[in-house]
């Protein structure tokens, strides 16, 4: 998000899901779309079957690979080099969009200088991708009329995550592939309301709509609206920073709403220590998650089926959900719980329901200005920016100019992953999602059908590696990193390249985040969940 916002002025998906139908070319990197975003995955497959091209970059043989026009399996963690190499070829071959670059962007000369060093030969050495293949990819992307870049956490969950995103933005601007229908850069959001949580100021440095807590005009506006003075104008800690501070003992209390960092976060031994170190922990959730089990107070919340509210999907569409049944026992909607705390603490919160809260959001957030309950209940949601009640919403971003004016080329050098395999920890372990489970499994694992289809964690290993180590499918193996170890069953498959292992983080009985590295991207502070070095052995 930080990378895209720096380049374009907005971190959100530039296009809409419907525009996938008309794209000529998909450039997919770091997204196992059919598993993570099944409905978007099927849009892509349908488009490809109608003749659109698909260039897929993924070290694994993911399901989309069988539909790809070109599938390139780059070495783990080498995306910046790969993309710089593609831009090198595009500039060399004069395939960039000069008019667009001149009229709508800034910083081209620096980009040109930097990518000049990423010749196909250099890039082949780093990424393992043959020059001829890289060339094909570069030409196909540059020459497509309507080309969409699609990425997800395979791009952002690296130490170089922000650089990866900036480099994708550079590529799109270089070829003029942003700001038209079915043409743009599209981060797919993982959870159902990640976009909304960000839009609502669920980030340390911003109020709603990305208005900065350090901007005096924004502070004044929020202080007036909230009838308060002396708001804190320094940015706060990210989740990674909070865990660090809890570890050190400077952060003493946490209030966690609907999250389970004890399974989802990297290096969970570290998270566990951090949370245990707190003087006071409040967790608000629908189940007694592993994190809730550590809390001093657990507040029972209503599930999505039991409350009214809006959610913002990955294409910036705000949609309204209604309550179908009452919450079980004494459980309450999250908003009611928070409102109860607000009134106890002297902050007026006499909302009759979420619609009243939305009115406050409308008044304070330009991009949500026209997103009212009456409009939402009459249609199928509204895509922000939607500044007023007469505005139809925005299908794709950056039409005439970028949100920030001119788009900025932000060239980045390739940097290797934080942890690379050595003699002792000789495999790269990478993590992801599978189709039948979701996130830490607190919800999906309680659904019979999903649990039947994918009941246990597996680690994928390449047949050649498996043979050398005497490992067969269904053997119990132990994975060990510098931070911990787990046991699970092996699946021998050519889906993974040699020296790479793959598993998922849905299963608490084999919590892969005991192994992962909390080394994080210095800008976005997204941990390097996508790779760490491990050794593997068969359990006797």
């Amino acid at each position: 998000m930080a990378g895209l916002a720096a380049a374009f002025g907005s971190g959100a998906m530039t296009n809409s899901i419907n525009e996938f139908d008309d794209a000529d070319l998909f450039f997919i990197i770091g997204s196992n779309t059919t598993a993570q975003h099944p409905l978007i995955g099927s849009r892509i497959i349908n488009a490809v079957e109608r003749g659109s091209k698909l260039i897929l970059f993924d070290p694994r043989e993911i399901p989309l690979a069988q539909f790809a026009t070109l599938h390139l399996r780059q070495n783990f963690g080498t995306d910046v080099a790969l993309l710089n190499g593609i831009m090198n070829i595009i500039i060399q071959e004069d395939l960039h969009d000069r008019l667009y670059v001149e009229g709508r962007t800034e910083g081209f000369e620096e980009l040109k200088k930097l990518v000049g060093r990423y010749t196909p030969k250099v890039v082949e050495q780093i990424t393992g991708i043959r020059s001829s293949e890289l060339y094909r990819a570069a030409v196909m992307y540059a020459q497509a009329d309507k080309a969409m870049i699609i990425y997800a956490m395979g791009i952002t969950q690296h130490v170089t995550g922000t650089d990866n995103v900036k480099t994708l933005a550079n590529l799109a601007m270089l070829t003029g592939h942003v700001g038209r229908p079915s043409t743009g850069v599209n981060p797919l959001r993982g959870q159902n309301n990640v976009q909304g949580a960000c839009d609502m100021g669920g980030l340390p440095g911003v109020f709603t709509g990305y208005q900065r807590v350090g901007d005096p005009a924004a502070v004044k506006k929020f202080e007036d609206a909230w009838s308060v003075s002396g708001l804190n104008t320094k940015g706060g800690l990210t989740i990674t920073g909070m865990m660090e501070a809890a570890h050190k003992g400077t952060l003493k209390a946490m209030y966690i709403m609907g999250e389970n960092p004890l399974v989802s976060d990297p290096d969970i031994t570290h998270v566990e220590q951090a949370l245990s170190n707190l003087d006071f922990l409040v967790v608000q959730d629908i189940f007694l998650s592993d994190t809730a089990a550590l809390a001093d107070v657990v507040l029972p919340a209503a599930s999505f089926a039991e409350k009214e509210g809006t959610y913002s999907n990955t294409e910036r569409r705000v949609q309204l959900a209604r309550a179908a049944v009452p919450p079980p026992g004494q459980a309450r909607s999250d908003w009611e719980i928070i409102a109860g705390l607000c009134s106890r603490l002297g902050l007026a919160a006499d909302y009759r329901g979420p619609a009243d809260i939305m009115k406050e959001i409308n008044a304070l957030t330009p991009s949500y200005g026209g997103i009212t309950y009456s409009r939402l209940s009459a249609g199928h949601g509204l895509q922000w920016p939607c500044p007023n009640v007469d505005h139809p919403g925005t299908v794709f971003l950056h039409r005439e100019q970028f949100t920030k004016g001119k788009g900025s080329f932000l060239p980045c050098e390739f940097k290797p992953a934080a942890e690379t395999p050595d003699d002792e920890y000789d495999f790269t372990l990478t993590t992801g999602r599978i189709y039948f489970q979701y996130h830490t499994g607190t919800m999906t694992r309680r659904i019979d059908l999903l649990e039947r289809e994918a009941p246990e964690p597996l680690v994928e290993i390449n047949p050649e590696d498996a043979k050398k180590l005497g490992i067969r499918s269904n053997d119990l193996v132990e994975l060990e990193s510098r931070r911990g170890s787990i046991q699970l069953k092996a699946e021998v498959t050519p889906r993974v390249p040699k020296r790479v292992l793959f598993t998922t983080f849905h299963f608490r009985e084999a919590p892969v985040n005991r192994l992962t590295n909390s080394a994080f991207d210095p800008v976005a502070e997204i941990p390097e969940l996508k790779g760490c070095s491990v050794k593997i052995r068969r359990c006797s």
Binding site: H37, N193, D279
Partner: protein, 133 residues
């Protein structure tokens, strides 16, 4: 029988469907045919998304740790305790000794109110969520 519109609680596609309700129980889903996002389709997660709603493991009462154990308490007790402990820590160690994690799984209105509580009452910007992950 009632059909209540909702949004899938799983991935960021945001498919929309109706929850089918019989006698206060959700018994199934029906995808919304004219929604531009999913056009009447759902994936396996969406089709089965209602099942966990009536799980016997759902939390039904506030829990408070006493002598090392989580035991059932009342809402008043739980909310009073949360207020007094958070205010106590803010007053003794400063606003930045507190951290608030919003959620990528709850609604916009709830995330808004939560960050407002953190910033207004506790004067801290230590507000984040798991989207980075």
């Amino acid at each position: 029988m009632a059909r209540i519109p909702t949004i899938c609680p799983f991935c960021g596609c945001g498919c929309s469907f109706y929850l089918v309700v019989h006698d206060g129980q959700v018994t199934g889903v029906e995808p919304s045919p004219d929604n531009p996002v999913n056009k009447g389709m759902l994936c396996a997660k969406g089709w089965n998304s209602y099942e966990f709603v009536h799980s016997p493991d759902r939390l039904k009462v506030p829990l408070i740790r006493k002598n090392g154990e989580l035991v059932e308490g009342t809402w008043d007790e739980a909310l009073d305790l949360v207020c007094s402990r958070l205010i106590g820590i803010r007053d003794s160690s400063g606003p930045d000794a507190l951290g608030f994690l919003c959620s990528a799984k709850v609604s916009n209105e709830e995330n808004y109110l939560f960050m407002k509580l953190a910033r207004v009452v506790f004067k801290t910007n230590n507000v984040d969520h798991c989207a980075r992950l």
